[in-house]
């Protein structure tokens, strides 16, 4: 289905883990800290679970009436003076943006973070056509200066230490490599971005939500960078995925209460901006982008992934993501949500991603719109197996496991043999690099001397009989 090389997340994760003793533990600690703040915020809202249920239902309602709401949004946004464009795929999105910029003679544009624009690989496209694109979000700018994609949808540079950033800025902006104070590093980008905001002919944003009832779209940031880009230059272009629609203004109360709490453990982002038409004296273009979303809507097992509001909570809670780092997914969307979104763009390239998960289910538990993420990961595994994308070792071991798990008597026999065998198995066999890549950075736990089944048969089965 594609000529792209298959992504190998286990191998990429290994590079992150063995790199040093600093990056991976720090990454794990920061994201877990964010998750704990999220948990505290969620626990402080008595109706939290009810809100998740309502948000999920609103999204399902919108997606099952998506054509209607898109037309309503377009009509209202047009009425308010915005130009609405439709892009079938990434290429058309980029062409539309390029033609608007060209018409306005814009040579340098400043933009806020947008995963959709990453998905469309817009920046290289525009830069190849002589238009310079500057990221204004600090984390995204760090990634841009380092020639890397974002590694997290909320914290793009969370895998980097302050030392990494200090050295990067010294190399690219010319600051002191030894001063790694986050306040100073932030000030560097503020002072670097501000003249560009004032000089540029266009500011570009994404859109977190689009409200059909009023033709409004919303952008949430903490830095206020989207707002400067929208309020200062004469031209504002916004890219919005068609799945971002919600029906009514009243629905926003539900989503804004969930979004920042799930994303970073705060009640809101510092700025939640609503754009209903161009600013005074300005021009507004909205590009509605499909890029595979309508096809995903028709996938019975996977259309619920379109409910995603890009909060990143599933990443922060995921034990695999926290240990392996976002770049190891080799895709625009990383973490559990990436595992179920990426294969809809390229099944072969991302065929290994569904196995980059423990299926612990924590992602589904924290998802503010109740996407069945871990169930979908399991379903993608089946798709990959059926399409024959699995490497030979995995196919063989799954075949053996499938047989054994399907025959209880063989399973119990295996249990009895395997546990003592572990004590004697040579280390090189358990941690063989090609037979067991998961063993590379892990130690197996000690195996109990007695299986639960044996214990149960010895201690409880008689009582169980008594009760009958």
């Amino acid at each position: 289905m594609s000529n792209a090389k298959q992504v190998d997340p286990a191998k990429a994760a290994e590079l992150f883990i063995i790199h040093d003793q600093i990056h991976e533990p720090m990454h794990d600690r920061f994201l877990w800290g964010t998750m704990q703040r999220r948990d505290a915020e969620a626990a402080a809202i008595p109706e939290w679970e009810e809100l998740r249920e309502i948000a999920s239902k609103i999204k399902e309602h919108t997606l099952t009436h998506l054509d209607h709401y898109l037309e309503e949004f377009e009509a209202n946004a047009t009425k308010r003076g915005a130009h609405v464009h439709w892009a079938l795929d990434a290429a058309e999105h980029n062409e539309i943006v390029h033609s608007i910029l060209k018409d306005h003679g814009v040579k340098e544009m400043i933009k806020s973070k947008s995963m959709l624009q990453e998905e469309c690989h817009m920046t290289p496209f525009l830069e190849n056509r002589g238009i310079k694109v500057i990221e204004s979000d600090l984390g995204e700018r760090i990634q841009q200066l380092d020639g890397q994609p974002p590694s997290h949808i909320v914290f793009p540079a969370i895998h980097k230490t302050r030392k990494d950033v200090a050295q990067l800025f010294a190399r690219t902006v010319g600051t002191d490599p030894n001063n790694d104070d986050p306040h100073l590093l932030t000030e560097v980008i503020r002072n670097n971005a501000r003249p560009r905001f004032l000089a540029t002919g266009a500011g570009m944003t994404g859109g977190n939500f689009a409200i059909a009832e009023t033709g409004t779209f919303m952008v949430c940031t903490n830095e206020g960078n989207a707002d400067i880009g929208a309020s200062v230059p004469p031209l504002h272009i916004a890219s919005i995925g068609i799945e971002k629609l919600i029906p009514r203004v009243e629905d926003m109360g539900v989503f804004l209460r969930l979004l920042a709490r799930s994303a970073e453990g705060s009640p809101l982002t510092q700025y939640s901006s609503h754009f209903s038409g161009p600013r005074k004296g300005g021009e507004l273009h909205i590009v509605l982008v499909d890029n595979g979303r309508s096809r995903r809507l028709g996938m019975a097992d996977f259309w619920h992934s379109l409910k995603c509001i890009r909060c990143g909570a599933c990443m922060n809670t995921c034990p695999v993501y926290r240990r392996s780092g976002g770049l190891s997914y080799g895709a625009t969307y990383s973490g559990p949500i990436g595992v179920i979104l990426d294969p809809t763009f390229d099944e072969f390239k991302y065929s290994e991603l569904p196995f980059h998960s423990t299926l612990c289910g924590s992602c589904s538990d924290v998802c503010p719109v109740k996407i069945d993420i871990s169930d979908q990961i399991l379903k993608w595994r089946r798709v990959m197996a059926e399409r024959g994308y699995l490497p030979l070792v995995k196919r063989m071991s799954f075949a053996v496991a499938g047989h054994v798990l399907g025959h209880p008597e063989e399973y119990h026999a295996m249990e009895k043999v395997a546990a003592p065998a572990m004590d004697y198995a040579p280390h090189f066999l358990l941690y063989n690099r090609s037979l067991n890549p998961w063993g590379r950075s892990r130690e197996l736990p000690q195996i109990a001397k007695q299986t639960f089944r044996d214990w149960y048969l010895a201690n409880r089965s008689e009582h169980a009989d008594d009760e009958q």
């Binding site: 705060s266 809101l268 309508s294």
Partner: protein, 217 residues
């Protein structure tokens, strides 16, 4: 444009072909019970958590004195409120002219207790850029105008009547370098909120404003 028009039809057609068979109803959003904490207290607590500072000021004179204490070195104080003059009035000008503003003064229509956010629209700001290019912000808020949560907040916003509206929760912030919280990433470095009801100014018809001195002025 011909190409986008055909893409529109293609996308809507593909959606109609893909729409899940089982339609889901729009759920009812219930009225949620609130904590019972005084709205102003809850608002102040959350504003502080967001990096903003609330001040009780009794009079306009007190507000002006507090402003000078907070920003003694400010050269350009641009005001979008009638009560406080500042050094410059916010007027409908090119946004780039707001680049040198040290302190912007604006009035929010209402605040939200559950987050400490205030609602600002294009009409309140005169020019949107005032809220984002100013190095520091002073926000005036009538303490009577605080709603409990975002559900109530969205019943008050009129997105059909303004081109721009923003829930602003404290100053600009980032945690992009080693998850360390830093204020003043791109927008305002600080946000001070003054609890001050709007001045009870006599209503004067616009046409007679310049020809007649205001009573008591």
């Amino acid at each position: 444009m011909q190409t986008t028009n055909s893409s529109r039809e293609t996308i809507l057609g593909a959606i109609r072909n893909s729409l899940p068979k089982d339609k889901v109803e729009h759920p009812r959003i219930p009225h949620f019970q609130r904590s019972g904490e005084r709205l102003k207290t809850e608002f102040e607590r959350h504003l502080q958590e967001a990096g903003g500072v609330a001040h009780d000021v009794a009079t306009v004179a007190e507000a002006e004195a507090r402003l000078m204490t907070l920003h003694p070195g400010a050269k350009v104080i641009c005001s979008a409120v009638p009560e406080i003059a500042g050094t410059r009035r916010a007027e409908d000008r090119d946004p780039h002219e707001f680049a040198d503003v040290d302190v912007g003064i604006v009035r929010a229509l209402f605040g939200v207790a559950e987050s400490g956010a205030v609602w600002l629209t294009q009409e309140d700001l005169v020019v949107d850029a005032l809220a984002f290019l100013s190095q520091h912000l002073i926000v005036l808020l009538d303490p009577e105008q605080i709603v409990s949560d975002m559900h109530e907040a969205y019943r008050r916003v009129r997105l059909d009547e303004t081109a721009f509206g923003c829930f602003m929760m404290g100053p600009s912030a980032t945690a992009d370098v080693e998850a360390t919280l830093v204020h003043g990433a791109q927008g305002a470095r600080s946000l001070n909120l003054f609890f001050l009801p709007p001045a009870q100014m006599p209503v004067v018809p616009a046409s007679t404003k310049t020809s007649r001195p205001e009573p008591g002025a």
